[in-house]
């Protein structure tokens, strides 16, 4: 059941062309940032990881309001929710989050080392950013699911998604950026913030889908 839903959402994302939107947005933000910041290469290299992470966070929020809204509009959300108890519904939400991550955010992590070059972030730094994005962006999907689930039961709740998801995403961003920066500045240790990043993602993997499931049940 869970795998079926995951495969459907992945297929839908590619079929409807929605998979490219976060990547193009990510590309646009990173490509324009050097023009805004100026040609100070040392500055760009220093803030590069933080810029990549911020752009990834904004790209993640971009499509999140559609996570459940699309299913609500065509009536399939009711069919997904009907007859499910909270734990099995949480698994379904997890499947939807993973599909959102694979189609929307995984490409960002893969593109990060190349886009890092635009910000004068060298290969090691770029790979570190990619690694932290790989570990951290699932957390953004899980956190966003809570906001999307609360917002779906409200008229014009699209704006709420960002407001609800951002506070939950803050730990992921903090540890993600500090781990990526530690890989560039030698004295700082890489592992402790990276492990905390993984912990935040795992925490959100449990809390996010469960919270979203309860919101979907309560929104009936």
């Amino acid at each position: 059941m869970t795998a079926t839903l995951f495969l459907r959402d992945v297929r839908l994302a590619f079929r409807a062309g929605g998979a490219l939107t976060p990547l193009l947005f990510f590309l646009a933000v990173i490509a324009t940032a050097p023009f805004a910041i100026g040609p100070d290469l040392a500055l760009l290299a220093r803030i590069g990881p933080a810029l990549l992470w911020t752009a990834a966070l904004l790209s993640a929020l971009l499509g999140l309001d559609r996570l459940f809204q699309a299913d609500r509009e065509d009536g399939s959300l009711d069919m997904l929710v009907a007859g499910q108890d909270a734990p099995s519904l949480a698994l379904l939400v997890l499947a939807k989050c993973l599909a959102h991550w694979v189609t929307g955010l995984l490409p960002l992590a893969l593109a990060a080392p190349f886009l890092g070059l635009l910000l004068n972030v060298e290969w090691t730094g770029g790979l570190a950013v990619a690694l932290t994005l790989l570990a951290g962006t699932p957390g953004l999907s899980f956190a966003g699911a809570v906001g999307a689930a609360v917002a779906v039961s409200l008229p014009r709740g699209g704006l709420l998604v960002s407001v609800l998801a951002l506070p939950l995403s803050v730990p992921v961003v903090i540890f993600g950026v500090s781990a990526a920066r530690a890989a560039l500045a030698d004295p700082d240790p890489f592992l402790p913030p990276f492990l905390l990043l993984c912990a935040s993602t795992l925490f959100l993997a449990v809390v996010g889908p469960l919270g979203a499931a309860l919101a979907l049940k309560g929104g009936e």
Binding site: T4, R8, L12, E73, G75, L80, A82, G83
Partner: protein, 223 residues
């Protein structure tokens, strides 16, 4: 039917033949407004109930309550003779058809067949997507994206979903909306076949009463 019907323990192939949907003193609100209260009825296996009433009387909301998707304000509804949660024994065909416009008709139906598990109560038959499409007369359109179909064709695909997995209870919200005369007759045949197989149907209807619906139930607007 003897009252001591359980003694003989005759194995029933349909499994759900003694099923009964009972609503007791239901009061339902939507958006803070009381729609109706003190509503009681019961539908036995093999029976079809047509819900009638003016727009806004609460037919859709009542169907959602029966399907376990909304909670009544007071009163309760139960499904006698069913295993598991009431929602798991129901097919709800809402106004929307629960199909993705970007996927083909067959992909949509394949998804729902995999997603919906076989009924716990057993009985009835589960159709493959192709067979379900043939039953609603749309086998030729299986490869088209759902989004390009006409309103009536979309409705027929929505009806085909009900055939993929057997559920004893069908809750239909305006099932005939957008259907032409031939398709309406097809809908009547589907309902009759479902009833003959020991199922029960509750449908919100506006048009002419179909022959399949033996009972009628009017929801009046609260004074």
């Amino acid at each position: 039917m003897s009252p001591a019907g359980g003694r003989g323990a005759v194995p029933r192939p349909a499994g759900a033949a003694h099923m009964r949907l009972v609503a007791e003193e239901l009061a339902v609100e939507r958006g803070g407004r009381l729609l109706f209260s003190g509503l009681s009825f019961s539908v036995a296996a093999g029976e079809a109930l047509a819900l009638r009433g003016p727009n806004g009387a609460g037919k859709t909301t009542l169907l959602r309550v029966l399907g376990g998707l909304a909670q009544p304000l007071t009163g309760r509804m139960r499904l006698e003779g069913a295993v598991g949660a009431p929602g798991a024994a129901c097919h709800l065909l809402a106004v929307e058809n629960a199909m993705k416009p970007a996927l083909t008709v067959e992909e949509n139906l394949r998804f729902w067949r995999r997603f919906l598990l076989p009924a716990e109560t057993g009985g009835g038959e589960d159709l493959m997507p192709r067979a379900a499409l043939e039953a609603v007369g749309l086998a030729a359109l299986a490869g088209l994206p759902f989004g390009v179909l006409s309103t009536g064709q979309k409705r027929r695909v929505g009806l085909a979903r009900l055939l993929l997995r057997h559920r004893p209870v069908w809750l239909l919200d305006e099932p005939a909306s957008g259907l032409d005369a031939a398709s309406e007759a097809m809908l009547g045949r589907l309902v009759e076949a479902h009833l003959a197989g020991g199922g029960l149907v509750v449908a919100a209807l506006h048009g002419r009463p179909s022959a399949a619906f033996g009972q009628e139930f009017r929801i009046e607007e609260p004074a």
